[in-house]
Amino acid sequence: MSTTSKVSATIALVGNPNSGKTTLFNALTGENQRVGNYSGVTVALKSGTFFTPHGRKLRVLDLPGCYSLRAGSPDEQVAVAALTGALPDEPKPDLVVCVVDASNLERHLQLALQVIELGLPCLLALNMIDAAELAGLRLDPGKLAEELGIPVVPMQASAGKGVLELKQSLRFPLPHPAAAPWLDEGGDADAARRGFILRLCELAARRPSEHQLTLSDRADDILLHPGWGWLCFAGLLLLMFWSIFSLAKVPMGWIESGQAGLASWLEGLLAEGDLRSLLIDGVLGGVGGVLMFLPQIVLLFLFIGLLESTGYMARAAFLMDGVMARAGLSGKAFLPLFSSYACAIPGVMSARTIDSAKERLVTIFVAPWMSCSARLPVYLLMVPLLLNEGEGSWRQAGVLFAVYALGTASAFAVARVLRGRLGPDPNPAHFMLEMPPFRVPQWRYIGRHLAERAWSFIAKAGTLILGLSILLWALSTYPKSPGADPSAALAHSAMGRIGAVIEPAVKPMGFDGRTGTAILTSFAAREVFNSSMAILFRVRESGDEKATRGLLRAQLAAARWPDGRPLFTPLSMISLLVFYIYALQCLPTVAVVARETGSWRWALGQLGFMTAFAWLAAALIYQGGRLLGF
């Protein structure tokens, strides 16, 4: 069999949101693009290549989901532009694969008919055939193909079933479809399509006469209940935060033991000197201070992946619609905001699914206040210190829950003010939410996704954080002071001098120059705060695991102002947590906001507002608390 490396045709995957286009795309190309059991996961064009069983190399485009070719939101406009060849640098596709949910044909065929009307060679991928069979539908793919005049391939992309058959049917260029017969009747095109679909479903997709309640329907009775639904939602979130603290303890212990062993080995290998200090205090202290939170980051992504994959996200969006309305937003804004708990960047990009330009702008503006995973290491360092106890209690989970709730509530409050100032929409858009049935999580995808996230975190620790740790060590070591006192040596170093300059700006928040310097360095990446604190407070891994655990916390608890007052009081720690909830210390987010809004003014305004708000909120809490005698 001869294969050619030249792409012979471009295929576009098109379909309603949550019809399984990206799952099919991943199955065809072997890629691992983000999927989820709710609408609006794909917001940008993605492309990949694959070979048919006969060696034909094809390029496949995964288009954002849309309900019709009358595009409303920016993601739908991308899909329509790609189909009509209106995208710059992107040729018109040679073939369109319409992906439809076989259990919901009446609605999904609306778009398929419009695509057939475009006259492009077309194929219908009858996806989620398992769900249709479970619902008791009697499907006749042959009849569907005959009536639509295009090939129909039944499949279950999530299990890889039917993917080979789809590839087989792409071995030859397909002919253009015949003229759409449903339009022959004249009159309104929408009504003609609806009539045709009803007749077609009677022939080829018959539903059982009685609707049977599925397990998913029964679960929804509880999960969408105005009272029980909220309880379940809060319980799930609390369980997630508790797991982050308690379940991660064991793997965190392994990482700490490894670091301690490495530090002991280096101490035995090298005599006292600068290189040993660089390796132990700088590299191990800095990188280790971040890397030890890897298990907790992985747990957070596991929970988010499970919520996305099972379909619970759509239920959460439904519950939140009323709350979002009070913030001047719709339930559609909930999904981008929830995505921002993992990272603000995909959250900001997901705002493309929102039809209203003003609502989209407001959603993008407040998204960075949904605490992202980069803030988690800082929270996980400070929360046990604040409560003055070891890791893993329900109290800590409660404080972490409150930290996330404060960011979310503040985001909603600012959204309400901002939405009011932007004024009403000329064309009000209504929130329409597709409630997908609950599905078994795609474990293979979740596993690959977690491995990818974990590797990215490790890679970041091994590159950016490693580099910054080395530079921070140098700044906190040189120039050297003649004496042996560590405090005097730090004050004499370049970092000590930078800290002295910064201190007046951070002192109102209750921080000294060292903490101020650590905050400054965390503008490169928030996790660097932990590395900087470990280096600036000279934390060394010890051979004893129990002594090592929380060593940085012990150092921080022992830190003093020059007058002997403790540096980290409950008040200053709350002030620090509040600063991290509100500060936008993520330059890639600023760049993506500028791109998505088309305005650097908006992005820089957001950066300025959030930094000023964080400073003011932290200073108010600290100064107010002191006035009240705390």
Binding site: K6, V7, S8, A9, T10, Q33, R34, S47, G48, T49, K57, R59, P91, D94, P173, L270, A271, G273, D274, L275, R276, S277, L278, A342, C343, A344, I345, P346, M349, H449, E452, R453, S456, F457, A459, K460, G467, I470, L471, W473, A474, P588, A591, V592, R595
Partner: protein, 55 residues
């Protein structure tokens, strides 16, 4: 002033790190899709050129 070998090596490591940072900052060129690779956006691939000479 005599510098011991540890100070020399540590200084060299710091200098190389600084150089890498400066080179990366100064280097012009594509910055990908502006979202890094740690946020699940993935890296943008160069698309394959579609063949226009279909038979």
């Amino acid at each position: 002033m005599n510098m011991d070998w540890q100070t020399l090596v540590a200084g060299l490591v710091v200098a190389i790190t600084l150089l890498v940072f400066l080179v990366r900052l100064a280097r012009p060129g594509p910055r990908g899709n502006g979202c890094g690779s740690h946020c699940g956006c993935g890296k943008r691939k160069k698309p394959d050129a579609p063949a226009r000479d279909r038979k």
